[in-house]
Amino acid sequence: MEELIKDLEERKRAIREKDGEKRVASQHKKGKLTAWERIERLLDKDSFSEINPFVTSRVTDFGMDKKRMPGDAVITGYGRINGRKVFLFSQDFTTLGGSLGEMHAQKIARIQDLAMANGCPLIQMNDSGGARIQEGILSLNGYGMIFKRNSLASGVIPQLSLILGPSAGGAVYASGLSDLVFMVRGVSRMYITGPDVIKRVAGEEIGHEELGGADVHAQVSGVAHFAHDSEDECFETVRRLLSYLPQNAYEVPPYQEPSRDLSADEAINQIVPLDPEESYDVHEVIEAVFDEGSFLEIHEEYAMNVVVGLARLYGHVVGIVANQPEFMAGVLDINASDKIASFVRFCDCFNIPLINLIDTPGYLPGSTQEFDGIIRHGAKILYAYSEATVPKIVLIMRKAYGGAYIALCSRDMAYDRVLAYPTADIAVMGAEGAVAIIFRKELAAAEDPQKRLEELKQQYMEKFGGPYLSASYGLVDQVIVPSETRRELYVALDSVLEKQESRPEKKHGNIPL
């Protein structure tokens, strides 16, 4: 027996170390951690258990029988983060470039099945050159196996994808299908076709980082939800993010003792300017209202005209959707629509209540937006909120006009509670635009059209501006003092936290895409 145990230990050591230092050095030279180091740094100390370390490729063509290695270029297993179980895989770039072959894919698929069966988050650490060409169609089929599981697991368990090296070609879709994508500047690159192919086919010259680096995907394409300066920072965000999420769709998010009581904060009275032309940073409202330091922004650098993220309100996890008056006046455009809709659906999947902080002049006018399909994209917001059964609370801080009012504030469409500040201005459109249409003839005939416009605007605002007309219709439930926002939002949330809502039974809806 001792012999056999010694043999087992030797085999395990050989798999883990392979030819050791050379591989570790090659990875470090690229500024990257090794697959093992990543697992150790991400998980709670000594919590990892590996599954299937002996699995080896069966393909022998092109001399692969000499190159193949036990483990087949990916480490799979499970461990704990903040004491909670997660399943993960970490691709090993130092073995065959982390390429995905048949057995590599089977290992990943098995981990996906285990994550689903146990109702635990799945963490995908990608560092792979792509399909293993020597394994041909078996490799492609492997991707199919993985993507199907990603799709079926969507909305059941949280799926997080970390891009920690190249992720190219079909491989990108395991991330494209994930709930959240994390990237690291200088380390990650993700694209369907790389610079070489682009140059050959389209004659366009572009570098790896410019084409598929962290900044591009975090700022321009919106593919990445987080961009970090180092892998360690990235792991820190993953650990923090999971502290807001339930393990699966059948649990509620973890409650945490609040760091702040519900007492009023006079400073909030001064944040939203009375002058409708003045902008401000909506982060100030978020920081003042929610539990101290609890806001974790998602898509921070993408479509910055809207701010979304997770936070805690008196200990309860909530998803915040807030217009950002300081960026593009807080208008809704195509990218903001996609950002909101995808965040709302993510929150609804995992039982996270939603809170909207509203100050927006509406949808962005213009032919570019129309040609690119703002109707189709804007519809996603309506769909996502109507579909969501989690508690949904709205606070109208200032402007809520037209389509944006319907999408983000309309009680009868989707919301459980609509609150408003005295500064709220709820209307079909801003006063000037409305007066110009209603009194077009009168203005044209006026001796001094500008003066008459101002008079009519004033009359219009007195009659229709502010929150009280909407409140008299019952479309605003309560008008609140800004300094009391924290208590008012919490009380509103508390009143609907246990609500049960059902939707008509169907195969699935057809969200406009």
């Binding site: 902008s279 960026f327 002049p361």
Partner: protein, 71 residues
């Protein structure tokens, strides 16, 4: 590295707060624009020195027009 700062949407230039040669810190306001009837501050994403200002007060600029360069 030079950073080009561009307009995010159709805007009118209300105020230019810096001039070439000024040292700026990330998030400092370079210009104030008006779009959608609102005053919108334009901030520098990076620390550096203002290399050029490409617009003047009263100009109307389209989306993606170059406003300033910071390096």
């Amino acid at each position: 590295m030079a950073k080009e700062i561009k307009a995010k949407m159709l805007s009118k230039i209300l105020e230019v707060k810096v001039k070439p040669g000024d040292a700026v810190k990330a998030k400092d306001v370079l210009l104030v624009l008006e779009s959608m009837k609102m005053k919108i501050p334009v901030r520098t994403p990076i620390d550096g020195v203002v290399k050029s200002i490409e617009v003047k007060v009263g100009d109307t600029v389209d989306r993606n027009s170059l406003l300033a360069v910071v390096e």
